[in-house]
Symmetry: C2
Subunit: 111 residues, 2 copies
Amino acid sequence: MANSKLYKGSLTTIILKLLSEHNKMYGYEITQKVKALTKGELQITEGALYPSLHKLESEGLLDVEVAKVDNRLRKYYKLTEKGTKETVSKLEELEQYLATLQALLNPKLSY
Amino acid sequence: MANSKLYKGSLTTIILKLLSEHNKMYGYEITQKVKALTKGELQITEGALYPSLHKLESEGLLDVEVAKVDNRLRKYYKLTEKGTKETVSKLEELEQYLATLQALLNPKLSY
DNA sequence: ATATATACATAAAATTCTTATGCATGCAAA
DNA sequence: TTTGCATGCATAAGAATTTTATGTATATAT
């Protein structure tokens, strides 16, 4: 499986980043995109994804648009203006954290 | 403050890695070392640290040795053999996760 | 006398996942 | 034709790991 668990706190940033690249996506599509991009390394579970999407929507970072395709429901999410700004700051935050981790885990390289 | 929050799941790896470099350390020392290495970016709170140390000990990854210095208690922790192995695998796991994140956040670079 | 640093600890609450389950449609295979 | 898999949503219970708050105690500096 090689299915690494999420480091808690990164899922939101992943969702926002994907939406910043694809304009609009629906939940199932996000799970498949993550799976493809990571070659199966990372599986976003529905139990984590849908509550996250709902929260992002309730915070005003995402807009929803319901569509019916092949007689199946789809909920397309897209970034609001606020969501776009938040994406930038979340990405900066994550990159900062990764740099901080470098300082801890690769002490030889921090000079 | 610039005090980034921990991405849940990384604290254990940080503790193990520090212990792999310093032979033995006590709790308070770990908080100070992290603060210094990250230039104040990361503050390990006691409420997170001590329970983590206790858990690592109960799992047999750390050994404890109590000492009294300047009339104050110190609990020195050091890696067991099992802990040393776990450190390696935790670090690999984290690096794998970081690589996976790269694929998601820097899609241009994954080809 | 008061605040800060050192040094441990735990409990309650919050956050964010995993796991399990449920509903429904469409299609392919047995 | 029914069984399984993929598509597509959802929520609830539980687990894990953190934050925040609080407590104890000694030493040192103001």
